[in-house]
């Protein structure tokens, strides 16, 4: 990174008001959210009947979305914790992006579970009547815990930046100034305060890794503890975690490109960041590809009757177009793009990131629904539409609304807080100059 004066860094990284593009973006997201809310009101009024969920496919795109959100949230622990603990400094400008993606995704993971419930008013029963033996309860506990840890991991490094932002009273406006003062007026840049903050971030970095592993392992156990073709696997925890790191890293590639271009942050999110993140995505895609081969090759080699129907449905049957798209888009094509030096330039990396995220969303759908449509006991005496699943417009609208909601949270966060840590960037620039 070239030499930058402190004031210039602050000026570059302070949150900016929405331009015309930003306003259109926010209005579009709000419109999608509003449509989703309308569809959810219909679902509340008429019940789950408005969805395509029936006796067999009782989990559809809501639960796919849930698994997707939980997966993408793991990026917080990858960028912030894993790279921090391994003393990798180039990732500093990306830590806050990763953390806000994590907070936003995990919040909507919790919400989408409530959306999937026919009677959301009974949600409190999970806490009052939950069975400790059930992975669903473990999921509730671990999601709540992960959300708190992610919020703390977002908050502690923000404290010195809040102090900087409070100094720009006129630029902030009345309400933002009040918010900044509420959150960080007590920060005085004292060495003791830095000492406590550094210690807290280190503790959080250590704590968040097992919790992050737990959150997605438990999510995988929601499936793997059920005896069904496609889910009956001892490999599911590792399979889910490797996929989660991949989709999270893909999400960061997209966010890096969007923030870099929109806020003109080329000096901070450099080509080298794309190069390094691209290499990480290739590694993660290869690991996930390995787990996929493992997950499909072993049962396909044995071809037990029930597994055969499920696997053939994926390979050549009803779900084959989605299956091959998901495998290609989330793993094969991104690997081919990012393995080359040209592929790790911002535009290509952004494109690869989109492929990873979109492919991964469909991959979650393939994990959830086809299995439910291939039970061990044959389906009979049920209407024909019970044997297939295609989401209704209400389901698409609600799922789309939740995705738009998650993007809105990230957008508003970037409007209110610096998306690249200002204080850490200044410190690293200074130490770079001294070196």
């Amino acid at each position: 990174m070239e030499k930058l004066a402190e004031n210039k860094i602050i000026e570059d990284l302070l949150p900016q008001k929405f331009g015309k593009q930003g306003q259109i973006w926010v209005i579009s997201l709000l419109a999608v959210c509003a449509l989703g809310f309308y569809a959810y009101c219909r679902q509340l009024y008429y019940g789950l009947e408005v969805t395509a969920l029936r006796d067999y496919a009782s989990w559809g795109i809501y639960i796919s979305n849930f698994v997707f959100f939980v997966a993408i949230s793991l990026v917080g622990s990858l960028i912030t914790a894993v790279l921090r603990l391994t003393d990798v400094h180039w990732s500093t400008p990306l830590t806050r992006i990763a953390e806000i993606i994590a907070v936003s995704a995990i919040s909507f993971a919790g919400l989408i579970i409530i959306v999937d419930m026919g009677r959301p008013d009974r949600f409190y029963n999970l806490f009052t009547h939950g069975r400790l033996q059930s992975p669903i309860i473990w999921d509730v506990i671990v999601i709540t815990t992960y959300l708190f840890i992610s919020l703390l991991l977002l908050y502690f490094p923000l404290l010195p930046d809040l102090k900087i932002m409070i100094g720009y009273k006129e630029r902030n406006g009345k309400y933002l100034q009040k918010l900044y003062e509420f959150l960080g007026s007590f920060w005085k840049n004292k060495p003791e305060q830095f000492k406590i903050t550094d210690k807290a971030i280190n503790i959080l970095s250590v704590t968040i890794i097992p919790v992050a592993f737990a959150i997605h392992t438990v999510t995988s156990w929601l499936f793997a503890t059920t005896y069904r073709p496609g889910w009956d696997s001892t490999n599911f925890g590792a399979y889910f975690i490797s996929g989660a790191f991949l989709v999270g890293a893909g999400g960061v590639l997209i966010a890096m490109y969007v923030f870099r271009t929109h806020y003109k942050l080329e000096k901070y999110i450099t080509d080298d960041h794309f190069n390094k993140m691209g290499k990480i995505v290739v590694l993660l895609a290869l690991v996930y590809l390995y787990f996929n081969i493992n997950e499909f090759l072993v049962p396909a080699f044995k071809m037990k009757k029930a597994e055969e129907e499920h696997l053939m449905g994926l390979f050549t049957g009803e779900f084959s177009p989605i299956f091959w798209f998901a495998i290609s888009a989330s793993m094969l094509v991104p690997i081919l793009i990012l393995v080359t030096k040209k592929g790790r330039t911002p535009k290509w990396a952004f494109f690869a990131g989109i492929l990873v995220v979109v492919g991964s969303w469909f991959k979650r759908f393939l994990i959830v629904t086809p299995t439910l449509l291939h039970p061990f006991l044959p389906m009979h005496d049920v209407p024909k539409n019970y044997m297939h699943y295609f989401p209704t417009w209400e389901e698409w609208a609600i799922a789309g609304g939740s995705l738009a909601g998650a993007l809105l949270v990230i957008t508003f966060f970037a409007r209110i807080f610096p998306i690249i840590p200002i204080h850490e960037t200044i410190i690293e620039t200074e130490s770079h100059e001294k070196a």
């Binding site: 400790l132 703390l152 404290l159 007026s185 920060w187 807290a200 704590t207």
Partner: protein, 291 residues
């Protein structure tokens, strides 16, 4: 000449096709109604009809056939016992109502009739069954012996009947388990009775050890189906066992195994202690800022 022949054949085909189609349209399958009589423990009587038809070379059970049951004859609508519709197994069942008592008492022999009107796919059909009224009685004797006796109505008196095969056993899982290794016993000519030794000592009964002994005559051409039952305390007393309140992985809420509770709560308390510790650190940072 050849052209002339082709025209002749075409005319013939055109003339025949409508009649062939018509013939196909009105073709119906014949329906067979098989009527059975049941005397249930000398208390109630019921009739069961099985509707079958030969389709594709095989006899198949025909559901959704409306049927009417009559006593003695179907010529008089006053003899109607009731109506039914065959179920998925092609069967319809009716209890003989008390209103048929006067007709029932007229003769020691009884005829039943079942009819089915013609439907879209089947011709009308009729089934008849003639039985001689009989009773099957069951009792026990010393040494865990089961006795059963058949009497039939001859004129106005009940007389023992010989050479009728009787199954003697115990009611078990909806069927009859033989009392010993012998399948059926023929009634003797003098008493019309049979005797079977009960050798099923370990049959589970209810909490008092009660089991249901059964004597049964199945599909007898003269007497139909007769059944008699008797409750005796010859079974093994069942003790209600449950692990409902035990701590297992499959138990209800609050009954999870101790090891799971200790493990889970230790993890939860451990992680949340860290979170609380960090919240306290925020307070400390705040304190340092105020000083």
């Amino acid at each position: 000449m050849r052209k002339h022949k082709i025209i002749q054949v075409l005319v013939l085909v055109i003339a025949l096709v409508p009649s062939l189609l018509m013939a196909q349209a009105v073709e119906k399958n014949s329906l067979s109604l098989n009527l059975k009589y049941y005397n249930d423990n000398n208390i109630t009587h019921h009739l069961l009809v099985q509707a079958k038809s030969k389709i594709d070379g095989k006899f198949q059970q025909i559901p959704n056939i409306p049927v009417e049951f009559y006593i003695t004859t179907d010529a008089d609508k006053a003899n109607l016992l009731g109506k039914g519709i065959t179920n998925g197994k092609g069967e319809a069942l009716i209890e003989i109502p008390p209103t048929a008592k006067m007709e029932w008492l007229k003769s020691p022999n009884q005829t039943f009739v079942v009819t089915a009107a013609a439907t879209k796919n089947f011709d009308d059909a009729k089934g008849e069954l003639a039985i001689t009224k009989a009773k099957l009685k069951i009792d026990t004797a010393e040494g865990r012996m089961i006795t059963a006796k058949i009497v039939a109505l001859v004129d106005t008196t009940w007389k023992p009947i010989a050479a009728v095969d009787v199954i003697v056993g115990v009611r078990r899982l909806g069927g009859i388990l033989n009392a010993n290794e012998t399948q059926t016993y023929p009634t003797d000519s003098a008493t019309g009775g049979v005797t079977a030794e009960f050798k099923r000592d370990s049959i589970p009964g209810d909490q008092k050890g009660n089991i249901v002994l059964v004597a049964s005559v199945v599909d007898n051409e003269t007497y139909g189906n007769l059944t008699a039952e008797m409750v005796v305390p010859w079974g093994k007393k069942s003790v209600y066992m449950t692990n409902f309140d035990h701590r297992t992985l499959f138990a209800r809420r609050g009954h999870s195994p101790f090891w799971l509770e200790i493990l889970a709560y230790t993890i939860v308390v451990g992680v949340w202690s860290v979170i609380i510790f960090l919240l306290v650190q925020i307070k400390n940072i705040k304190k340092l800022g105020v000083e």
